[in-house]
Symmetry: C2
Subunit: 427 residues, 2 copies
Amino acid sequence: MAVQTAADTTTLDLGPASALSCRECGERFELGPIFACASCFGPLEVAYDLPTEGPEELRKRIEAGPNNIWRYAPLLPVPADVADKPSLNPGFTKLVEAGNLARELGVTGSLYIKDDSGNPTHSFKDRVVAIAVEAARAFGFTTLSCSSTGNLAGAVGAAAARAGFRSCVFIPHDLEQGKVVMAAVYGGDLVGIEGNYDDVNRFCSELIGDPLGEGWGFVNVNLRPYYGEGSKTLAYEICEQLGWRLPDQIVIPIASGSQLTKIDKGFQELIKLGLVEDRPYKIFGAQAEGCSPVSAAFKAGHEVVRPVKPNTIAKSLAIGNPADGPYVLDIVRRTGGAVEDVDDEQNVAAIKLLARTEGIFAETAGGVTVGVTRKLIESGALDPTLTTVVLNTGDGLKTLDAVAPTTGPAATIRPSLDAFRAAGLAI
Amino acid sequence: MAVQTAADTTTLDLGPASALSCRECGERFELGPIFACASCFGPLEVAYDLPTEGPEELRKRIEAGPNNIWRYAPLLPVPADVADKPSLNPGFTKLVEAGNLARELGVTGSLYIKDDSGNPTHSFKDRVVAIAVEAARAFGFTTLSCSSTGNLAGAVGAAAARAGFRSCVFIPHDLEQGKVVMAAVYGGDLVGIEGNYDDVNRFCSELIGDPLGEGWGFVNVNLRPYYGEGSKTLAYEICEQLGWRLPDQIVIPIASGSQLTKIDKGFQELIKLGLVEDRPYKIFGAQAEGCSPVSAAFKAGHEVVRPVKPNTIAKSLAIGNPADGPYVLDIVRRTGGAVEDVDDEQNVAAIKLLARTEGIFAETAGGVTVGVTRKLIESGALDPTLTTVVLNTGDGLKTLDAVAPTTGPAATIRPSLDAFRAAGLAI
């Protein structure tokens, strides 16, 4: 696989990142903009020389860092001075103790929402893109690119603008206006592709192999090994915000499955470094019924995932052939968790439940995790007496259509006290 | 003025707040849900017994507090244990050093954007509502209410849900669907009023005086003195984030004018407490040309503000008769600042400029402050060699219509390299 970069990789500074290693066969490669193993085509991931200082010192170093993901620079593929470079500085979003929701769900332990709608472009994608930007800088790329159906396009456009990269982002031509505006407003080139998301993806793969795409960092293709590491910061933040403690249970949405695998990787690193006590935790995966290949495989006891054609309002989770599906199954089974799914109606009900109890307006992916949490409690798979963290990875303002048909005024009246009295709302 | 509450005000705990005092005649009143002086009808504001500890100790106490507005509890009308109560915990939003924007505007000093789109419901309204909620709690109110055209309705709905209040919010019946959904999704009662915003306001004033509204806290009416204090936290955060230093210049949007007056109040308190060095600062006000009564009065050298009928895309600033207009004029003149306005076209250009340079997608109120900053630099009123802070008080996702007509794909093509080459974007 050709390394498409002008940078001399021997002078690369990606902090503690030491190599890329194949998740399948373990073969190691020099750090570079490559994403598949030259021997077995397995996915590559970042290997590290992790800090050798004691946990007390490392904790102190992290806590003295900035209120964003760069506080974890010693555990990420980024240079030590990363916080000084122009970045959207995502992360360190709120871990909300959700007492009202807990009561509604019959949870007697502690229930938390990790609310990533607080990121700069209001989705967790800002985390992964921020790491990809640093890799792009290191490899000498000047253009950032991606294929996207929405959240990622906005995150790449915004991050590129701030960090001084050109961006050129590809989307299906028929996206909703809101997502198109969000993807285009940052001033990069937005290109509509006549076709669906699969067509966009295929086109991007062609472009990477062509001289036209030279100098381009596709955050979710040739920078994917770095990009994916951004999800580890969710694990770090949750544990730090719990007082350097692992949660007992965590509910994570599954699109490609990468986020779930990287959160597990993050937990394992914290254990290895002694930053948290090594105790059991259960990882649960959440899908939308209309795109639930991993949930189906889990329930059937399969080790492989059979691709599906997505049909769900949870568009940010609508990946019918999730690349990390088998790894997700491994992790969920290893930790004693489960994968569950909810239909569109349960999703909308869960979005409203979270809004009504905690004042958090989640996108449809958040409806999936909250809805699945409810279902897992009802089935007994999730223990309501323990500490549970549920991820909300995006913002309801981006998926208004999901709730709009059933969310509106309780009454519309003339501006008079009599009319208000007649509406029967004054209790 | 009747105090509509069951709570015994002699046991009130609103922290350092000691009384309400009339901004016009100085008469003092007991803390309560009142908003106008019984003698002269002037607006009431909160008076304090400020902390007596030295600046070093106070700074340390603040810095050890939570990453939200409650770190400033010693300077706000809230009990000392406020951080333990259920709240959306807004504030401590990013102060972004805007180097790219500075270069475009010819600023050679330091230019910062205080980006309040990072608040829980993505506008600065979360700050003021959070304080109003604590006042409502203290006064024994059980329902939170307001009149609103958008941002405030969402902020009240969300805060009420989280804090365990019923909410009943009034809006004009013909608002955009997005704002209606955001106002209704948190599960409170949303009531559409057949009429415009003025009709909604008049209706709310009637309701406050009627038994129907008993036990109701209208955040921007009978809780307004407390509500307004939330804007002081912008002043505190900016100074702390600058390293406990006043900015030389600050550009603030003007709707009612309350935010600008409270930021000045916050700066004055920090000086008085010795938390920052007492040195000159200039406050600049920003309006939209289609609703610029304060800008017009400033330019004409008037001391009173002549009401206008708003006609601007900056709907969150569209208050034609700003209550705090005269106080804004006083402050701007006292500090050596100015008030300026931009038209809709300049507003949209400024939204895009900020997005393109810093990856921040502002609502139309942010377009107004950035556009006015540009104009003030061009006119020489704002010194480009000094430290300047520009406020962005809301999120572009809420005012998509402003930029949508001129923001879209650079090209729409078939999924082929030839088509991409022909589009001329691959540079």
